[in-house]
Amino acid sequence: MTLTGFTAKSALRNRRRSLLTILSIAFSLLLLTLMMAVWRGFYLTKGTPAGARRLMVRNRTSLTFPLPAYYGQKIAAVPGVKAVAPALWFGGVYKNNKPQNFFAQIGTDPKTFFQVYPDYGIPPAQWAAWRRDRAGCVVDARLMAQHHWHLGQHLFIKGTIFPVTLQLTVDGVFHAPPGFEAIYFNQKYLQKAMPPLTSIAGMFYVLTDSSKNVSRVERTIDGMFQNSPAPTRSETERAFFLGFVNMLGNIKAFILAISLAVVFAILLVSANTMAMSIRERIREVAVLKTLGFTQRGVVGLFVGEAVAIALLGGILGTAGAAGLIAMGGQSPQGALLKAFTVTPGIVAAALLVAVVVGLVSAALPAWRAAQHSIVEGLRHAG
């Protein structure tokens, strides 16, 4: 036996209580891990290098207001702009309104779309096929797998904003980052069915020649249309995405509040368990001290127990969170979860929280128990 072995056996001496504590900590750390993954997904993920060079240009008033189509040519002429692609949200229904059948459908220009999104990695032959096919579309690989589509597959998408049913053929497959799953179709198909749409675009995707030029291009574009009937708002891909997130409310404050509540809850659970466990063992502490254990040694044993319990809970919790995100991402309802990842850094942070909780929860009761005189402790009836 070693001191570590002794600590481990002591930690599990009241199995039911230890198990319940471990499960409580596991559940709390599962929540904390999810919160950290969401935080990372929303605020820390930098995206691809090409993403850092992209701008989203939309109507300053609101995303729901379109921009004149000719803005595309003007934007393309701005120094530092490498490619521009229009985008129009179609908002149709595939099969039915069930969540698993929801995905974004966006009309764009097949000639320039993959110039703006070179990182989406479509095979050149498929891109060429899409450019030739006015009724064609390209599909994200995850959507393709989820719906068991194949190249040449016909998709029927009934419009809800526009009174048109798209009859599209899958011409190609691309690989967007998680959370950006969509299908893109040739906007001319929609414009043919609804000629007034020829003169408008929902927004523009812009690729600059260098990430250093992004701010300058952004200012130039917005300055160019400042006094026009449809002023623009240009923002980086990341800022555009965060704009969507912020529509949900103050997500940062929400995540922080939940995380703090979770940490506080596990601290209470662990402190309660350790306080009970230590109070029951005042006599044992006296025996250990009689055998030669120092006060510091006794504190170390108890803190070790608390850390072991908290770490077990932490391992279960982080594993549970990683599993949940992985499984949820597979299910159609959990599409948003694909944007989140439990990275080794998040696991380490969650386990560090577990260790700190173990240390803090046991330190005071252990120190107080170790302070008891041996004589007092041996008289203790507990």
């Binding site: 254990f293 005189s373 004589v375």
Partner: protein, 239 residues
């Protein structure tokens, strides 16, 4: 009062200093607003290799005196040298280390750790030493063999009888080979047969292994195993 036991003390080969030298030990406990005098001006010497029984009624200060010898309690006045060491000059940490190396303590209620096996309980004091795993194992086996429990090494305390638990506690007390064994009513919770076994073991440790034994007891029969019996009465050691 001093009585002499039927078992003779092992003969000293050369003149050795006394193993315990207590001088004018006093101990006052403060309970709420009351002062309780547990020991008053107790002076006592115990020779190396002695088997001493401390007898007296409840509250006479027997266990307090035993705790003083073990350095688990400190007197209000007086000095105590054990194996030449002025033990009250040691700080808490040094005292803990000293107890680990020099003292074997046997409790009335055994006080084994319930989640550890007999062997692990015995090994506990050795975890604080620099002994290797193999050396610790060897010490544990020897100690358990000495108390006749070599076949119960893997048993948990709840799987042992009271007598066996106390024998494991004795093995734990001797596993670090201390010079002095202090026993606080070691047979108080045992039936006659088990008590006799425990006393036989302690006698053997005293006679064969020359351990100095100081035993607190109420039981005159148990005290009969000692070479010397000292009586305490209201905190005073009887002459």
């Amino acid at each position: 009062m001093t009585t002499t036991a039927p078992f003779p003390a092992p003969a000293k080969t050369v003149a050795e200093p006394d193993i315990v030298e207590a001088e004018h030990i006093g101990k006052v406990f403060h309970r709420d607003s009351f002062e309780v005098v547990a020991l008053e001006d107790v002076s006592l010497t115990i020779a190396r290799g002695d088997f001493v029984a401390l007898m007296g009624p409840s509250g006479s200060g027997k266990t307090t005196l035993l705790n003083m010898i073990a350095a688990v309690d400190r007197p209000t006045s007086g000095t105590m040298r054990v194996m030449g060491q002025d033990i009250y000059r040691l700080n808490d940490r040094e005292a803990a280390r000293w107890r680990n190396e020099k003292i074997g303590y046997i409790f009335q209620t055994f006080n084994l750790i319930p989640v550890l096996t007999a062997a692990e309980n015995v090994e506990l004091p050795l975890l604080l030493t620099r002994l290797s795993k193999g050396e610790r194992r060897e010490h544990v086996e020897t100690a358990l063999r000495l108390v006749g429990l070599q076949d119960r090494m893997g048993h948990l305390p709840k799987q042992l009888s009271g007598g066996q638990e106390q024998r494991v506690a004795i093995a734990r007390a001797i596993v670090s080979d201390p010079a002095i064994l202090l026993a606080d009513e070691p047979t108080g919770d045992l039936d006659r047969q088990s008590a006799a076994e425990v006393l036989e073991i302690m006698t053997r440790l005293n006679q064969e292994f020359r351990k100095t034994v100081v035993m607190v007891t109420h039981d005159a029969h148990a005290a009969g195993y000692a070479h010397v019996t000292r009586h305490l009465e209201k905190g005073h050691l009887q002459a």
